[in-house]
Structures are given as C-alpha cells and as structure tokens.
Symmetry: D2
Subunit: 343 residues, 4 copies
C-alpha cells in the first residue's frame, strides 16, 4: 500500500484528494495535516467523509511526513517549495497541487508569485504532471508539479492542433469559465454566495498567474513562441471549467475531428465527443475526465475548441492521483473510475 | 452476474441507476428501455456515461425483459403495474421506483393516483423497500416497492421516536425541502431554471401523493393511527432533501441522542450525527446515505429532527440497488460506496 | 427634503437602503459612512449605483451625522446603541436596522447579544417598527427598532390568527427558510458560494437571536405567553424568506381566508393570496411586500400559513423606509413602488 | 397617455414589459393578449404584478389592438410579420421584440428562420431599434425591430472600435454568455433547472440566428464586410449577458479608454467603467443599462472588451420602452430609472 500524506487537508483540493484516496484500492491515507485543525478528526470538519476517513489532522512537520511514500501538497502557493527539499532527501516523493514547481524559470516565477523561489534548483527536475504530454517522465519522477485547472483545460484543448502544426501560433485566444470552487476555501467577500450567485464576470484580464503557465506549456507543444490572450471568468456554479478556445488555421483545413480522435485515442481520461457536440461541464462533474469538441464555424479559418473538466478533479486532485498511479506503477485509472454526477 | 433491466432509462432516476449499476461489481446492464429513444446509444443521450455504458435503448417489451434477473421500473406511475404480473410469472424479480406498489389499499391508491390499480392482487405481496424497516422481507421478495424520496427522509427521521414510543402520534409535522430533480425530467414550465432558480415555494399543501405513503409507513411503526401534516417545498438546487420534523414528547424526555444512535448503530446507510449538529444536504450528494440530527430546543417537549438524503440516491436509485443487493444475497453495500460530493 | 444619513453603508442592508433612497422623491442622501472606505465614492464600491448616488463615504462621527433629519443604522449589532443617545439629543431621528432596540428587556438583550446594553433607558421609548402593528406609534417616534427579517415574516404570518384568538398559543412552529444575503456581507467561509450553493441546512436550532424577538412580538399580539419552536434554514439563493408556520386551532375552524383578507384589507404592503395559493419568494424580490397564503390541510385542526418577503426589503431596508415615511408624514408608499423582479 | 398593447404577454419579455410599463408615467396598459390565457387576469398568471396590473388577457385580434397607440410584439418569431401590415395601416405603431424585422435581406431572413418572410416590403422601412446607433430614425419610425439580446451586447461593445476605425474587420470574436431566461418561457427539457443548473455549455457554434443580425449591424458600423466568430454559452443563472469581445488593432494603439468614454459620454444607458474594471452582470440586473470595460492585455495588439446587460431589459423590454419613449417624444429615460438589484 502506498502511504499517502496530504499537506493542507482543509481546502477544496485537499478534501477532494481525501474523497478520491479514501476509496483508492492501493492507498492508505497515512497523514493529513492542518495547522489550524490539528487534533480534530478529519470527518468532523468534512462530514461527507464520515465512515470513510478515520484520520486526525496533525501538524505539518517533517517528522510526521517522512514515513509517507508520497506527499501531496494541497496548500497555498509558496508552501511546498519550503518543505520539498528535505522530504525528497528522505526519499518521499512529492506531488504539488499548487504552483510552486510549475514554471521552469525562477525569474518568471518570482515575478508572478511575488517572492523569490525557495529552491530554484529543483525547478529543472520537477515534472509537469500532465500525463497526456509527460507520461513517461512522470513514471520516474520524484517531484511532480500538477498543472493548474485553467492550464489543464486549455492545453488539452489546443494540444492536437499544435502538435499537428495546423494553426498559427501568434493569435491564440482562451476564453475560460470556471466555477467558484476554483477560487478556493478562503474567507473572502468576493466569493460569497451573495456576490457570485446569479452573476458572471471576467477577472484578471490584465494578467493572471495561469497565463505564463499556459504559455510555457503551449510553447513546448508548439516548439516556439506563442501569442495567447487568456480571459478567465467566474461562473455562478461550484465545480467545472469550460474553455472556449480560438485559433486560426494556417493552411488548408485538415479533418479536425480526425486529428483530435487520433491524438486522444489511447488516452483514458480525454474523450473527444462526436462532431458537432457541445460538452456540458456537468457531464464530468466529480470525474477525472476531459471532454472535448472541435468546430470550424461557417467552414472558415477559425477553429473553435470546447474543452470541459471538473476543476477539482482533472483540474487538481484527480490529476494528482493519476500522476501518483503512474509514479508507483499502478493502473493509471486506479481509484479514478467515478462517473460524472448528472444531474 | 445479475442481469439487470431498466425500464424508463431516460428520467433522472433511470440515469442514476445506470450511473450506479455501471460500476457495480455484480451486475451486468442487460437492457435499458425507452420508447422514444429506441435504437439510440444510451451514452449518446447521457454523455456522463460515455465509456461506462455501452447499451442501446430498446423497446420495453416482455420479450426484451424476460431474460433479466431483475427489472427496475424507473417509469411514471402506472407503468410497472401493467407489466409486473407477466414478468413475475416468468421469474423476473421487480423493483419499482415509482408508486405503483407502495400503498397497500387499492382504494387509497386509486384515490390518489386517479385510476383503478391494474393488479391489486399483488399489493399484499409487494414489499416496501425500506431496508431499515423491512430488511428480512426484502431478502426473499419478488416485488419491491421502493419508497418515495420524501417518505424515505421522513420515515428514517421519525422511526426511532415511534419505535421507542416516546412521542404523541397525533401531531406530527414534516416540513420537507426538495431539490428540483425530484420533480423529474419532464418538459414543464414550473421546473424551468428561470422559474425555480433563486426562489422557494411550498406546494401541495392541500394534499400530496406522498402523504398517504408516509402515513401508512408511520402507522406501521406506531402501531396505530397518526396525525401528520406534510408540507413539501421546492428548493433552488438540483439534488437533496432536507426533512425538518416536529413531534411532541409524551412523557419525560429520554436521551434522544442515545435513542437514535442505538437504533441506527448497525445500519450501513443511516448516520446519526453528533449532538448539536445540523446536516447539510451536500454531504450526502451522490451518496446512498441518510444523515440525521436530533434536537430538543430550549429543553422543551418539542423534538426537532433533521434528516437529509440525496433524493436520487437514498431516495430512489441507490435505495433500489440496496434492495437488489439484499434480494440477491450480495453485500448490502455493493456498488454503493460513493462518498458525498463536497463541495 | 429629508436629509438621510446611513451608517454602515457597505453591508447588504446599507446598499439596499441606498438603492431605495436614491429614487425616493422626498429624500436627499446626505451622508453615507464607512470606517473602512472613507474617502471612496460609494458608486465605486457598488457599481449598480453608478449614476444614481454621488456620495462619498465619510467617517461615522457625531459631527458628520448631526445635520441629518434621520439616521439609518445598517450596522452590526451593538453599534447603534453607542451613538443613539447623542444623536437623539441633537434632534436626529433614528431608524436602527440592527437588533439594538428590538428587545424591551435589557436582561434578555444582554443574554442573547453577549454584552450589557449601552443605553437601556431608551428601550422603553424605542418603537418596534412593524407598521402593520405599530403604525400610530411609529408616526411620532424618535427611535425605531426595525424588525429582523425572520421576525417580520413570522409575525405578519401569525398576526391575524393571534388577534382573532383562534389558535392555541403554546404550540406554534415557525419553519423558516432564508436566502444567504440574510447572513450579511462578511468574509466568512460558511457563506461562500461553494459552501451554500446547491445545498440546504437548518441552523441555530438550539437557539437563534430572532427567537426572543419573535416571542416578544407574538406575546404582545396574543396578550400572553406563547410557546414557539423556531427553526431557520439557509437556502441556496440570495434573496427571499419563506416562513412556513404551523398552529393548532382551538375551537371550530373560522373562515381563515376571510380572517386574513379582512385583517390586511387596508395594508399597502401585505397581500393575501387567493385560497389555495402557494407564494413564491421571487414574486416579492426587490419589492417591499409580503405575500401570504393560509391553508388547513385535510380540513383538520392544523393551520399552515405561508408567508414570503424579500429579506432585504420588507425584511430590512424597505421596511425602514416605510417607517421613515410614516415618521415624516409622507405617503407610506413613497419610494417603495418597485415590482417584484420575475423571473 | 400612450395606449400600449402587448401581444404575447406570457413570455419573459412580455411580463418584463408589463413590469416596466406598469410604473411608466406616460403609459396606460390598454391590452395584453394571450391565446391560451384569454379571460384570465394577468396578475393571476404573474403574481409579482398583483396590485400593479389590472388587465385581463384578451385574444390577439386586429380589433382589440387597433385602438392602441403602440403595440409591442413579445411573441415567437414569425408572429409580428403577420399582423404588422394591417396594424400599421390603422395607424398603430409597432415595436417588435422578436426577430421578424431585424434582417434587411428577406433571403437571409428566410434562410435563418426557415420560412419566407410574410411582408418583405416592410423590411426596408423597419428601423433597427438600437438608439445608440439609430436614435434619429427611431424618433419618426412606425415600425421598430428591437435588437436581440446577444446583438445588443456585442454591438454596443464593438461600436466605438469600429466607428474609430482602429481594428481589423476580419477577425472579430464574440464569446458571449447568457442567463437561461434568454431561452424563453417554454416547456423544454434542456432549460430545466436540473439540466442548466450548476453546469455550463456552449451551443450553436455551427450557426446561431443572432450571427447574421450581429454581422449586419457590425458591417453597417464598419462600412464593409466583417469576419465574426460568435459563440453563445448558456450560464446557470436567470438574467444577464456578458459579452467578451476580441479584436485586433490595426495600427498604433489609441487611448482606448478615451475612445469609449467619448463615444458614450451622452448616452443615458451605456456606462463606460473606469480603466481596469471587470463588469458584473448583477450590477445591471433589472436595469436598462449596459456597462462596458475595455482592456489591452500585455499592451499587445489584441483588444478585449467586456460588455454586460440584463438580457430582459436592455436586451429586450427595456430597450423596447426606450424606443417607445423616443417614438412618442418622451424623455428617453421615462419609466427606465430602476437601479440594478444587487445583491
């Protein structure tokens, strides 16, 4: 059994990890940490876990975590990078669900996250945990940087076009819509029900931390610079991301449906819908899946890709477990068989 | 493997059955019927089932269903009673999720459902599928009447008080709140998003079909007549029922917390929360559980019980599968291990 | 023109007052205070007010407020009582939307609000601002205690029954459902969208501060002690309260519909729906109205009353303006003509 | 007093017209028609109108309508064009909220609406009722084609850029998000609460009827052909549209904020937010306003415009009344002073 530790078990990605790992056939939940709630039973804080998780919150110390096989960081940005070197030294593998190891360039990281990186020497080693791109590297990694929720939906949506070399790189648009749980479990007025219910807004148009992450990922796929306009929106729902992606074809239009179906034929968690489809976020609610449709309106040179995920599953905790499965040689699907909760 | 047939696979209870049965280790989905969609792939209608359910809708005929071990009727009221006798004769067991076999008295049935019962001779045999009350009878039943969603939440909430004989029977109040999926998947204006979103209303105060069903169940528990006022409410959410129950103690107050904990100690799907709790419907979302709290405000003679379920799971499809597990000698929990989807 | 001051203009009742007063033909918004936002334009904080409110937030001092004709306190409990004596002394009338002057007994106040009352000598003078009960006293009052949102819905619902003397006083039940805005605009996790959306819970069953307020009001109407069980619920919507009220008739049933229609015939803001109706909270959204329906299920001895208001309007800011209109001899309806926003 | 007739008073735009006109100082609601509900009191169908609208539904005949000063058609597409010629002949002015007179080319109309136009000779005369573009023509019009909700939000958003001649015309993108009320009050499964709540989807990517309307409007502003990709999305809320618009600058970037502020300086219902803003749809809920923000991310050549309206007000009934005010020489703002309902 893999002994899993979860640092930061009181946020939405943490509790989602617990929900998934509690039923995972190859995992024992060895540690769940919380500074604020140490000593409290986890299931007391999260009554949906009653009967499934017996753990008690402990302090996040090196001692409590060093006998884990793997530690998940479901923490605010800037936490994992402070504990990672010591844990790795003790042979503990790390899967960070926050942003500490997502960007390769420590200067870019420092610019967007407002402080110097605490262990820039690990950035090169860290593997970006998008299995559809990095599966082999993940299998042998010690340190995984789980992609952000927006970056997952956007990269999976544009990947086949970039790999096939059929679009212009300089004019990509990602208009992405997210449920409110993406903003986390924080006591902040802008994410109250009375503020976000029955309303819709864009935010971060000037600049959002997921923009450099997406650019880095797309540039790797494109093999060169990309020009990306990224506009995130806050939607009055809890779970779900819908990326609407716009790209310009550079030559004759290929059979886009075939490009997508072929690229994702063997991917267990990416599902290309039939031509003409419009995915609903609800169809992947609670599920580690990405559903994609590709369109070319009026048979013109603009491609429209629709890509949906559950931000807490394929956009966070589910993808983290998918990475863990790969790292430990398990079936990639282990513990990830839930079906989308409709309605 | 149990060969399961589902009649009426296009409503919310039908698709929920499919979601549960697709992952059930002991079941093969042998038939899914739909008059309107015969010939269409089930996963085309319900894209959350893509990759999990390969079945194609067929016409609901005796032929297509008679090689099933069990047939679930997830149909409008009045459908199961027309097919039940012939199926039973062929040795097929039946679990009806609609109301056809819930009431014991055919006259009462005819009064509330507006037509004579088609097979009143089966009413005595049919077992009311509330395992917490009827577990032994369910094990050997050929024909199960699955309780309604409101009746499940109310009966589980009041059961310990009635069995313990500590409340007056004549002044019971059930103020129950339901998500909109309880109204079904029907093209009707009153359940549009624009009608039910951001608003709340009571309905059916004059009389609701679940009232005689609840009364029948409570009277059986009470061993005599009960007086029940039942007010259902439509809540702007999709899944979930919250029953707020009021009863009057008839003598000195017992230790109510102990009464509940003791009664449900061995029940796999009923969870008595710690004293002073207030259950959230979300904590049982997508899960076959009932969470209950019991209160005595101001230490007076009024007991307040709070009981929550997911109307589509413990209030319908999950309970139906729980019944199936009992009928076929499986672990009662088989296929029912999902954890509530929070947030 | 009435010069109105608003203390605490950054909460939901404050901004709702601004929305109403900005279009009131007889009022000038003279001062809007906020400690945190002093110097900022009000419409910058609340963009719905752009073009309608030119005011700039100022500090809440005696100087800035003493040239107002009336000051509304849309503040947390415990604020108004600290400024009221000095303002009254300077001839400023006060309408408190918080709880400082709602309870007549300072000991009861101290018990429920956790501190001694700062000016108990004003409690006797303060008029409880429910115009349907206290209209004449309001006209000449210097100090108004605006009723809470739950108490407004419950008292208006039970008033005709208590005045008519047709129900037993000892077994009243108020099962009340509220939208989330009733919890205010505070940075607290339990009222996040991800916590309250798509879920429903009761709270405060053990004891809620509105319970003594409702009891005090009902006892005045009943002319004696009442026994009330009050269970508030948090509903996944922003605005609206739905009170479901249960009472036991004490003799032969009167024509309940007539009792209600007659009692409220001349009330501009209470509307008795036709017999058999079920009010929707949306029908009074944004409007200073209370819609009520009265039922007697199965022609028994239990009366069920359904009463809906918008918690921020008739349950707070609208009722406050209704009081102001009465205090200053204006048409009671001035500024309060908005129609419920459906859908 | 203007005698107003409303044909099709049972849909959301019809009841919204009633809500606005009932409080309009210069209008008498003379007729409200409904085939299905003739004889019924309007306020019985729409209890939010109780006490404000006394009218009774009548059949939509030439006789009942010909003594009106103006008739609003809040009907399905294809209705107004059948009654318009006869009404105009009798001197009745017409404001159509549906699509019958929006497209100038009858062939294009027939292509998108699936039948030949019933009175193509009126298409040239009909004035497209977007006051920000056509104010003078509206003042003298007999027949107004009210813009669709999507087209209003998109055209107001792109208008300053096109008029200023600063963007390339061939690569416009309109990613637009709409609340569910935009789909109307129809008994259809896809707009049930259980289908649209807590989920998000694009639709009509292949082609939507508002696409030719928007193109026609933009081409008029651009003075030539435009290339537009339009993707509408269905959002889990009732009211509100948020258009996110992308355009490519063709030369040196002008001061975009100044371009917008100057263009809309004198417009009563279009409000340019301060630089860096992100409008919320809730801030214009129930209000005849459009709030706009303009951004240039990373100081590049892509302009992002955010434009929000209430689809039922500035996107339908409010704009219709604004047109009526202009046609009858009233203050353009008459009856349209409501403030956005926040929260």
């Amino acid at each position: 059994m893999i002994r899993a530790g979860i640092v930061g078990g009181t946020g939405y990605t943490g509790v989602e990890l617990l929900r998934i790992l509690a039923l995972h056939p190859g995992v024992e939940i060895a540690r769940v940490t919380s500074r604020g709630d140490a000593g409290k039973r986890v299931a007391e804080a999260y009554p949906n876990l009653r009967g499934f998780v017996d753990a008690v919150f402990v302090e996040p110390t090196l001692e409590t975590l060093s006998d884990c096989s793997v530690v998940f960081f479901a923490t605010p940005n800037g936490t994992a990078m402070r504990m990672a070197p010591a844990l790795l030294e003790r042979g503990v593998r790390i899967i960070d669900l926050a942003a500490d190891f997502r960007l390769k360039d420590p200067k870019v990281w420092a610019h967007w996250y407002g402080e110097p990186h605490a262990c820039p020497e690990l950035l090169a080693e860290a593997v970006y945990g998008l299995p559809e791109v990095n599966r082999e590297a993940i299998r042998t990694a010690r340190l995984i940087a789980c992609p952000g929720c927006y970056p997952t939906s956007v990269q999976l949506g544009l990947l086949p076009l970039l790999e096939a070399g059929v679009i212009r790189h300089e004019r990509l648009i990602a208009d992405v819509k997210s449920g409110v749980s993406g903003a986390g479990r924080k006591a902040e007025i802008p994410i109250l029900m009375s503020e976000t219910g029955e309303s819709l807004k864009a935010y971060g148009v000037k600049g959002h931390r997921h923009w450099p992450e997406i650019c880095q990922g797309l540039e790797r796929l494109a093999g060169g610079a990309v020009g990306l306009t990224f506009v995130p929106h806050l939607i009055p729902m809890i779970r779900g991301i819908h990326a609407t992606l716009y790209a310009v074809l550079k030559g004759e239009a290929p059979d886009l449906q075939a490009v997508y179906e072929q690229r994702y034929r063997d991917e267990p968690f990416v599902d290309v819908l039939p031509a003409g489809s419009h995915p609903d976020t609800r169809n992947v609610r609670g599920m580690n899946g990405c559903q994609i449709a590709v369109h070319r309106p009026q048979e013109g040179d603009t491609v429209v890709v629709l890509s949906v995920i559950d931000n807490l599953v394929k956009g966070a905790a589910g993808q983290a477990v998918q990475n863990m499965n790969l790292m430990f040689g398990l079936d990639e699907r282990a513990g990830l068989s839930a079906i989308g909760l409709y309605p």
